[in-house]
Amino acid sequence: MSTVLLILRKDLRHLWVLASLGVLFSLFATLGWYWDLSRISTSGFIFFAGQVAPIVVLFVLSVAIVQSDPTVGDKAFWRTRPISPGALLVAKLLVLCLVFALPSLLVNLFLAVSMDTPFPVLLGMVIESTGMILIECLVSALVGAVTRSLMQAAAAVLASALLLMAVAVLNPLPQLFVPWRMDIPGHAPRMAAMGVYSGIAALILLAHQFLTRRWVRTLVLLVAFVPAVLFASVHWPVSIRSTSPTEAETSAKLETSVGVQMMLMPPAVTWSTSYVNNPATGKTVKAHTVAMNAAMRSIPEGRIIQIDSITSALRFPGGEELQFQPIGRAFWPYWSSLTQATAISRELGLAPPAPSKEQAKQPRLRLFTVPNEKAVALAGKRGTLTVTLKLYELAFHQVASLPARPGAHWTRDGEMWRVAKIFFEKGAPSAVLEHLRATSILINEGPARPDYRPDGYRFGLALHNKKRGEFALSTFRWFSMDLPQWTIDRNDRIVTFSEAWKVGGSPVDDPIDESWLADAELVILSAVPVGSFEKQLVLENFEIPQSEEMPESEAAPYWQ
């Protein structure tokens, strides 16, 4: 222990300039993210400043700290001193922790506490942010330990990157490095697990290198660890909170719309060319398809019904059964601006604006898709079609209310909304909003993740002037600047409130101006699931529709 402290003291004395830069860098990197990095310049700069620069700086500083005491080669001074490799390794890691992880930990704690972050998320944030930095430090230290100079270290990293790129060209990168598809719910714990296992692997490799100084063996172990880490992270995910909040928890006051009716919607059958998955090979092939379509009816006003999954099967009298490829959340029909406006109005107790004919149009719901050749092969064969639809309802739920003026902000439960700027364009007010959310991939939020809905479908915004009895809703699809996610997930949004109504539903007489805004509040709503239910559609004596006009197939049928 005394040797560790001796080396630690020496390093801090020797590397105080480097350490100070590291601390400043860590503070800046995290605080800059929280504050106003998005305004610095264009997105290209943000990418560099936010992602590339920290990695490069962390790498260079970590390697420099590790290599300040040469441990590689037969000329290394400390190798003939009574300093154990373990003590040297621990001391180096302590320096890296003090310089990089501790400032980041403190800043993350400060941010999380200032945003009233719930404890599990706060814990996840702290572990994730500190852990990610430590993992990079470990990897950098490993590179630093097996090389003799910064140039060699950089060359090793570049060579590795080139190797990965070459592999990626030969093999699809996502399949190689992300062995779980993004549409599988709960991928976040696996990514977290990959981080944890990568860290453990890096630590083992680093310890091996320091203790044995057999860098060839270390590299061999590294190659062996890559598939092991991928396997472990797929099969043994980690999560601090493995269950999601139940739907009842999110909003108990709403009842589920179980009275929704399903009906085949004309045209009930469509033919098209699409890409279907061949389950035999796992590859996506192009095929002409026959699709059955349906529509939902009797949805109460202001309610949003969404598809969780659709499974269809066609059973023939002889017992033969054709299972169609299930349709998941990714295929749900997004709702119209009218639906959103009525749902928001319902939550706020306001009369919704009258729908236009175009707005009232109901989106079509695809029940199943079958390749054209399969449909032809089944011509004249009748059976019972059973379609099971798992549905759930979303409702807009008021999250925050804050004055409609620049600088106003609202914080609760690890979430912050800030009004950065309000300006008028073509007579309509627009607002630049900053939305920060404390988050962690270590928190598994259950099957609701990943959420495919764009911002405009997840949040609703309203300007409400209670004094005048008028309100305005934001345009449906916002421009959203998505910055790379970190433990503080930041999204900057520009929204325009182009239309305004009086309470009761009629349009306002005068356009919104600054005096109108002075009395207004900005209401932020979030679309939350409020209940789920199941519908089954059974069609007896069903035959897959045929058409003589079906196009010729261009690809081999997928069922081969």
Binding site: L6, K10, H14, D69, F77, R79, T80, R81, P82, A87
Partner: protein, 306 residues
């Protein structure tokens, strides 16, 4: 007890053998001079002993422990100074000594101060800004101050001026001070400096240890011989064993190096081969012996020895 033992020790770099099937025993308390030309494998051997390199085959023991198993604690009794060694250049001499001191229970601060004065080393200048000689002295100071049982020096005199060399040797002479045996292993191709210190001498060439014997014995069996006859002299055929570097500057003069000179017989054995001739025998320095050995090795395609 032996401070160092090697058993069939070999090390190759790729296909190039640096040390080959080397067997060596150095008793504790010995000043061992490891001599050999450049590229003989001296540095490699010393690095193998201290586990800075791993052997390709064979094994070695240092202070009773196998080299490949040397632990950090074992280096409390071992000192190592090498030409070209990485030093913490940012440290001043005072900082280096301050850092090293807690690592060694046997640290002798009085000796450290005395040696620093002897070496005339400035305490406040970073090592990286010192001259080469000063850096070597700083490295030696940080080693001698804990009175190691085994001191390994790899080409310590290379490029040093005579004054620094003298300081260096004075430092080595300062080391004994208690009753523990101190073993020195000094590799060099600069023999004159170690001549006055060496108890044992090893001659390494082509990775093989060609000669290993006490320095006095080596000096005792090597002689330059000049034979002057009244008439023309003929080189005996076959050449008697132990004769090397035979030259004939004049028909009646033969010069040679006798590598198996027997002091008890004196020049009589040679005289008997050339009756009536005058034989002058002269002792050789280690440096001269080294040159003879090196030339003999080179002339025998790396296989010969004397």
């Amino acid at each position: 007890m032996n401070a160092i033992e090697c058993e069939n020790l070999s090390r190759s770099f790729g296909r190039v053998p640096a040390v080959q099937e080397l067997n060596l025993e150095i008793p504790a308390g010995t000043f061992f001079a490891l001599l050999g030309p450049n590229g003989a494998g001296k540095s490699t051997l010393l690095k193998l002993l201290l586990n800075l390199l791993r052997p390709t085959s064979g094994k070695s023991r240092v202070l009773g422990r196998e080299s490949t198993s040397l632990k950090a604690a074992d280096f409390r009794g071992i000192g190592y100074v090498a030409d070209g060694q990485d030093l913490p250049e940012w440290m001043t001499v005072t900082q280096l000594l301050g850092f090293c001191r807690p690592l060694y229970p046997t640290w002798d601060q009085g000796l450290a101060v005395r040696l620093q004065g002897l070496f005339d080393l400035p305490g406040d200048r970073p090592i990286g800004k010192l001259s080469r000689g000063m850096r070597m002295k700083a490295a030696l100071l940080s080693n001698l101050s804990y009175r190691p049982e085994l001191m390994v020096l790899d080409e310590p005199f290379g490029g040093l001026d005579p004054l620094v060399r003298d300081d260096f040797i004075q430092g080595l002479l300062e080391l004994p001070g208690d009753d523990r045996p101190r073993t020195f292993v000094v590799s060099s191709h600069d023999i004159d400096e170690v001549e006055r210190l060496a108890d044992d001498v090893g001659f390494l060439a082509g990775g093989r240890l060609l000669v290993h014997e006490p320095a006095d014995a080596l000096r005792g069996r090597f002689r330059t011989v000049e034979i002057v006859g009244n008439q023309a002299l003929t080189v005996p055929s076959p050449i008697p064993p132990g004769w090397a570097e035979i030259k004939q500057p004049a028909p009646n003069v033969l010069q040679l190096v006798c590598t198996s000179f027997d002091a008890s017989l004196g020049a009589s054995e040679i005289q008997a081969r050339f009756p009536g001739s005058g034989v002058a025998v002269q002792a050789m320095t280690l440096g001269e012996i080294f040159l003879v050995l090196a030339r003999a090795h080179r002339g025998s395609d790396g296989k010969g020895a004397l």
